[in-house]
């Protein structure tokens, strides 16, 4: 189940794109001129069939996951509320988890997005070619590290290392609710989990952003430079506007990973009830909650966990729909016309 929740989070951002290619393909093959040679036409049919099949498979898998989640979660949703999560009721149980999940992912993105865009820009527009290549490989390697390794690093190195910082935050910025003390002595807090998540999503956002930045048309870069733009002004004028939808997609993929990440959070976070402070122990995310409780769950408690997975699925879906909407809002100015 944890695996399924993980996979939905990863598969989702790709969903809408696949749908569009899939709807286009039959039109294109239908419009192929009949003048082409026999082999070419057959190749066309094979390709469009393959593309269609691939698109359908993605949708079928997605639907199967959704159906499975709904069917398995159903008992928890209709059961008398006092039987669920030791009498708390499902919504009382899930709400703190939703908030914890969203906060952890949001903080992770707030940390990761500027760093990723900066690193990607450095690789694509500032670094000498050799340095850029090496850095690109390192970033891609970072993406291949299993999450349990990040979790182990977070628990054994990062959490203790952040404790002095948390104490400082609590004493100087303690009046802000999210930094209210006393800070956790072990450092196993939601903020530490968010930092680990940030490190995990940086490679994703960076490598996609880098690819997009590299695709900026030379024509537009030169247009900006020829007007007397400095390199940074050129980047703001030509690179960022061109890359904007790509950056949003990259951030959404990162968000998908941050929302669904299980192992690292389960290891790093010393979980507890929902609290506002990010530097005390407490809070929990949906994915980690499922992972920690799944082995002993059965019957109604199993359904409850699966219902929690369903909620995570819905959150990811909503986030992606919003991202698509943001991208499409500026279609007229996207340069596609």
């Amino acid at each position: 189940m944890t695996k399924a929740a993980d996979e939905t989070a990863h598969a989702l951002p790709k969903g809408p794109e696949v749908t569009t290619t899939q709807t286009k393909t039959p039109e294109q093959s239908g419009g192929t001129p009949k003048l082409s040679s026999q082999g070419g036409a057959a190749g066309d049919r094979i390709f469009s069939g393959a593309a269609l099949t691939a698109g359908i498979i993605i949708l079928v898998v997605l639907c199967a996951v959704a159906v499975f989640l709904v069917a398995q979660a159903f008992p928890a949703l209709v059961a008398p509320q006092d039987q669920i999560a030791s009498g708390k009721g499902f919504w009382q149980y899930i709400l703190p988890l939703v908030v914890g999940t969203v906060i952890a992912a949001a903080v992770a993105l707030v940390i990761a997005t500027p760093i990723s865009i900066g690193v990607a820009l450095f690789i694509s527009h500032y670094a000498p070619r050799r340095v850029a290549q090496i850095l690109g490989y390192v970033i891609d390697l970072l993406a291949a590290i299993p999450s349990v390794v990040f979790g182990a690093w977070g628990i054994s190195f990062l959490a203790p290392a952040l404790v002095p910082g948390y104490n400082w935050l609590a004493s100087t910025l303690g009046w802000i609710p999210i930094f209210s003390g006393p800070a956790s002595a072990t450092g196993k807090t939601l903020l530490t989990a968010a930092v680990v998540l940030a490190v995990m999503v940086i490679p994703i956002i960076t490598s996609i952003s880098r690819e997009i930045f590299l695709q900026t048309p030379k024509l537009h870069e030169e247009a900006a430079l020829a007007l007397g733009a400095t390199r940074w002004e050129m980047i703001r004028m030509a690179v960022f506007p061109f890359a904007r939808p790509g950056i949003i997609s990259a951030v959404m993929l990162g968000l998908g990973r941050a929302l669904g990440e299980t192992m690292a959070v389960a290891l790093v976070l010393s979980s507890g009830p929902l609290i506002a402070s990010l530097i005390q122990s407490g809070n929990q995310t949906i994915a980690a909650e499922i992972a920690l409780n799944f082995p002993e769950a059965s019957g109604l408690s199993l359904s409850t966990l699966i219902a929690a997975g369903l909620v995570l699925f819905v959150i990811t879906l909503v986030v992606n729909v919003i991202a698509r909407w943001v991208i499409s809002r500026h279609k007229e100015f996207s340069g596609a016309n």
């Binding site: 247009a223 007007l227 400095t230 340069g335």
Partner: protein
């Protein structure tokens, strides 16, 4: 506003490869000068050294002097960014910023370096620049629409409006009509004729009729062979280049015997 250009013994290198060799040329203010020559002869490369755009490619460098009214563009401490705001450029393919409206495209260069304009000033500048590019009447009702929605010829004139909005001394044009249809080409050529009243215009073109139509003076560039540097072969009044060129190579080229 308009300034003259004097080039002394200019060599252009890409790494160790010498792309252009020993160019000496004097371009008068308020004139149109055309660079013609076969592909790969270095005329575009040379044009780009006039506003240091060749430096966009890593390893590109220059020996010699380019003087803009006596100021060396390659002198110590000269910022290429400042050079480019004095020497504007229009490219082979129209390249308005696709994410900007027509108005923002015109103002793009002016807004650089943190300059602030009042609303009235910017409206006036948009109108005068678009009027100057013969585009005002076609776009005045849709200044907020994206520049990429215009036709190719309109886009190219928008790029010219963008270039003249920063009030440059010189406007360089790198084959500005090669991606345009004949009617749009005519519109841009008419515009070039008007621009020379205010600016020094240098245009690279593959189209010899175009050079003959728009330019006061013409420079013919040629290469001895692949891998050899491009050279300025002949530079004279346009009528002289096309009617009685001094060099055999020029005559062969303008009469269509090669290139």
């Amino acid at each position: 506003m308009s300034k003259r250009i004097d080039v002394k013994d200019l060599n252009v290198y890409y790494g160790n490869f010498r792309a252009v060799e020993g160019v000496n040329i004097n371009i008068a203010a308020r004139s149109v000068t055309a660079f013609i020559g076969p592909s790969g002869c270095g005329k575009s490369t040379f044009l780009r050294t006039l506003n240091r755009m060749h430096e966009v490619l890593p390893g590109a460098r220059v020996e010699g002097q380019v003087l803009l009214d006596g100021d060396d563009l390659y002198g110590p401490g000269v910022d290429p960014v400042a050079v480019r705001s004095h020497v504007g450029m229009v490219f082979q393919r129209p390249n308005p910023f696709p994410t900007m409206s027509i108005r923002d495209n015109v103002l793009a260069g002016v807004k650089l370096n943190g300059k602030k304009l009042s609303k009235a000033d910017s409206e006036a500048l948009v109108e005068s620049s678009l009027l100057g590019a013969n585009l005002w009447n076609e776009v005045k009702d849709r200044l907020d629409k994206p520049g990429s929605g215009l036709s190719g010829g309109q886009q190219q004139r928008l790029c010219i409006a963008r270039a003249i909005a920063v009030k440059p001394d010189v406007i360089l044009m790198d084959e500005p009509c090669s991606a345009l249809d004949p009617i749009s080409t005519l519109a841009v050529e008419d515009l070039i004729n008007e621009l020379k009243e205010k600016y020094t215009v240098v245009i690279v073109t593959h189209n010899m009729q175009q050079a003959a139509r728009v330019s006061d003076k013409t420079a013919f560039f040629n290469i001895a062979g692949t891998g050899k540097p491009g050279k300025l072969i002949e530079y004279a009044d346009t009528t002289a280049i096309f009617n009685n060129p001094k060099e055999k190579a020029t005559e062969d080229y303008v009469s269509g015997r090669f290139g």
